[in-house]
Symmetry: none
Subunit: 198 residues, 4 copies
């Protein structure tokens, strides 16, 4: 029996990589880089810990790779808000829902971990410096400005409004992950009251 052909090999490799990254994301996002043991990731992915090292040279590399990916993904997520239908407030509502939904949360949390935990690789620290919330703020300026222009958003300093709103969302996202304590996810309309005229 001849060995698998190159394409099959490649496919297996790629699938495994995805499987590992997906498992790692889940764990890293919740427990940070220090709190995460490679054995946890291996268990989550259903493979041996040794195999992790066929795909990623180290815990740091795995973490860094995920952070890079997360930055791209969150970038795109924010960006895609412009494609949505409706008025500015509709888009903001959709964005808000999206951020608070379980779905895309992990990437965001990972970035939070990358920003706030110890033991984060130097490279990630660098990435984070260049990738602060300002970036998101800038991406949303056009949307919020239009909202002000059409009277759907309150007047006032644009950047402050955006970053305040994002901060509230960020905080909720961080709380969101843990079902434990009885945090209540506020309804979107309540949150929008902060920025919408009454």
């Amino acid at each position: 029996m001849s060995p698998l052909n190159e394409e099959q090999q490649h496919q297996i490799r790629d699938e495994r990589r995805e499987q590992i990254m997906s498992a790692a994301l889940k764990v890293f996002a919740r427990r940070g880089i220090i709190g995460t043991k490679m054995s946890m990731i291996a268990a989550e992915a259903g493979i041996s810990h040794g195999l992790l090292y066929h795909y990623f040279a180290s815990k740091e590399e795995l973490f860094t790779t995920l952070v890079e990916r997360a930055m791209i993904a969150s970038d795109e997520a924010i960006h895609s808000v412009y494609e949505l239908p409706g008025t500015p407030i509709d888009k903001i509502r959709a964005l808000t829902l999206d951020m608070l939904d379980e779905g895309g949360t992990d990437y965001f949390l990972l970035i939070h971990q990358a920003r706030t935990s110890d033991g984060v690789p130097e490279k990630v620290v660098e990435l984070m410096k260049r990738y602060s919330m300002d970036k998101y703020v800038k991406q949303l300026q056009a949307l919020f400005r239009e909202g002000q222009n059409v009277g759907e958003l309150v007047d006032g300093d644009l950047d402050e409004m955006i970053s305040s709103y994002l901060s509230v969302l960020s905080g909720l996202m961080v709380l969101n992950v843990q079902k434990i304590g009885g945090y209540q996810r506020p309804r979107v309309d309540v949150l929008l009251r902060m920025i919408a005229p009454l």
Copy 2:
């Protein structure tokens, strides 16, 4: 040198304990129980790590003691809102400011850590189960109800309003600690818009 009398001994002991707990709180609140090394606490307290074990049997015990204290303290903090002068919205504003100020944050953060991190002692997990946000909500029902009655707060489900508002504050507190990324602390008036009629 005459030996200290018993009372003086006691006093020194108590001061040391306070010193250690204060240092430990600062570190645990920011780094969680896993991310905190006993040597960090010792350094923060300006003593040798060996000495810690004269006062606390283990890292777990120290953490647990602090959590118990934090629960009492945050309880009192919430409770004390009723002593403040002014109308309900004034009191809520003051409470909000208090929670977002650097000052009392550590205890709250410690509870957040206790609730969300790994490696938390079983006893603390038990404490947390019995001490969810509902407790705070109950404590604030009277205040918020009065606010609704006098027309300072919007109508609607009382408990949901309180826990939503607390969740937003909680999220912001968690973000608050890290100066890093460019999180913006929203102005109190903006936050109050969520619960106050225009």
Copy 3:
């Protein structure tokens, strides 16, 4: 494609075996059994590491096989000195050059590794015990005795002379492999001065 007949199969198998042993010799000789990874041998041989195990059951077996071969080969090398033309001193000169030349060094170095490194299989340790330098000494007694008889070598204890000379050569061989530090390979005439009358 008709399957190869049995003889062809055999031949391929033997060639592969040779190819692997040749690669392994090169690596083991320089890095010892511990410092050598199976993947290095596979890379040197241009095959996958998995394939090694079709030909040799383990690293130990591969190493042991090579050592056995090396012992035979060095035996023959020493022996063949008698076939060379010229007087005893001519033969010794040729032997010296041969040992110090890059060429046949690997087998000798492998034996050195087998003798001096850790992690050497028990079986090899046994082999080495029975295969000390005495063996070489015995093989060279006739040659050196003749050298003394014809006055080309200094008088004195024969065995001591041989083993001293071989020790010097052995030491130089060990140094020889590494081009790094600036070891100087002494000229043969200088070395011969140790045993030749002036």
Copy 4:
């Protein structure tokens, strides 16, 4: 009971450090950096492996520290030959004996390991580049030149003579450590024949 005073602490620390370095030297010299396990050093020093890390940050650091020390020591050893009594050949004889004696061998072997093994820290590689045999050769030029002048050494290229002689000694030192195989340590007079006129 009060803790030890500072001086006592220091003394204990220094003694332990020496004890560890001495143990490590013994093991590294024979087995190289890869073949040496920290547990071997700990065992040799009679302490736990954990304690090693109170004194040296890593295996690499320990190895590097030893190599630096060895370079200084071997430097001094060579240098001290000039203090010895007697004619040049007497001094060379003494140096030879010294190098082949068990005593100072470990440092030399460590340098040999540093020069030839894998897994050597980058810093050591750098050290070695700047510290080749040329250095020893230079230090001995005056001695050997004088030997030629007084007719105790053969004429001919000075540097080549020195480095050839040192290479022979080096090779013997490397063999010397292992009692195993039956290597014969040549008598000094035999070795001196390489460089002395009949």
